[in-house]
């Protein structure tokens, strides 16, 4: 596709449920990022992949959060045992180059609501 694609666009989960959020980056983009955007806030960094290698996961808020990019393309962000504080929009971004000079292209996000 022409841009970064995320699915689902909306996800409602009951507290304690596991969820998986998918990101299809722009073809050929080396770098992939996940951000969490709480209501009324700017995006906050979660994790960074260079191809299939997860080089930075310093932003993951707890060990319930896990991300993978096994073949260096599609990425999945998994949240186990969801809590209400996990409710947010999860944004994926990809870029052709590596940080810090890279231009990041963002998907429309997945809005997660935990009840």
């Amino acid at each position: 596709g022409a841009g970064v694609s995320q699915s689902p666009r909306y996800k409602v989960a009951k507290r304690g449920q596991d969820v998986a959020l998918r990101c299809d980056p722009i073809s050929g983009h080396v770098s992939l990022f996940w951000y969490q955007q709480a209501l009324g806030q700017g995006p906050e960094f979660l994790t960074y992949f260079q191809n299939e290698a997860q080089l930075d996961k310093s932003g993951l808020p707890s060990d319930r959060f896990f991300a993978e990019r096994p073949e260096g393309s599609v990425s999945t962000l998994k949240i186990q045992r969801t809590q209400q504080e996990d409710s947010a929009v999860y944004l994926c971004a990809s870029s052709l180059e590596r940080p810090p000079k890279n231009i990041q292209y963002f998907g429309a996000g997945t809005r997660l609501s935990v009840l």
Partner: protein
């Protein structure tokens, strides 16, 4: 450590009037600077960037920004706004240096253009 401050959470402005959205940053290292725009239910779209060179940068949709190193600011301006400019605007920095992998965002400024 890095931080980005967007001083105005909401800016209402009449159509065809000029607008300035303020951004100040704090960083212990040099940074690259970005402005992104987010339309409702869409991902972030890059407006403009400062990497090096001229401190006045021009972006899409008639926006421009000026990097002021001494004041650590990167304010966004447009001489005449249009209804379609109504959106959320985010300032972001990308620090240079080893291990710096992500963008740091401000909390955003909601620009509302009044007919």
């Amino acid at each position: 450590a890095q931080s980005v401050t967007q001083l105005d959470s909401q800016v209402p402005v009449f159509e065809e009037a000029p607008v300035e959205l303020r951004c100040n940053y704090s960083s212990s290292v040099s940074v690259y600077l970005f402005w992104y725009v987010q339309y409702p239910n869409q991902g972030l779209q890059l407006l403009l960037k400062y990497l090096s060179g001229s401190t006045l940068v021009k972006g899409i949709n008639g926006f421009e920004a000026e990097f002021n190193k001494s004041q650590t600011s990167f304010h966004l301006r447009k001489p005449s706004v249009h209804i379609s400019d109504t959106a959320e605007y985010f300032c972001a920095v990308s620090p240079l240096g080893a291990g710096a992998n992500n963008l740091f965002f401000g909390t955003g400024t909601r620009l509302t253009v009044i007919p």
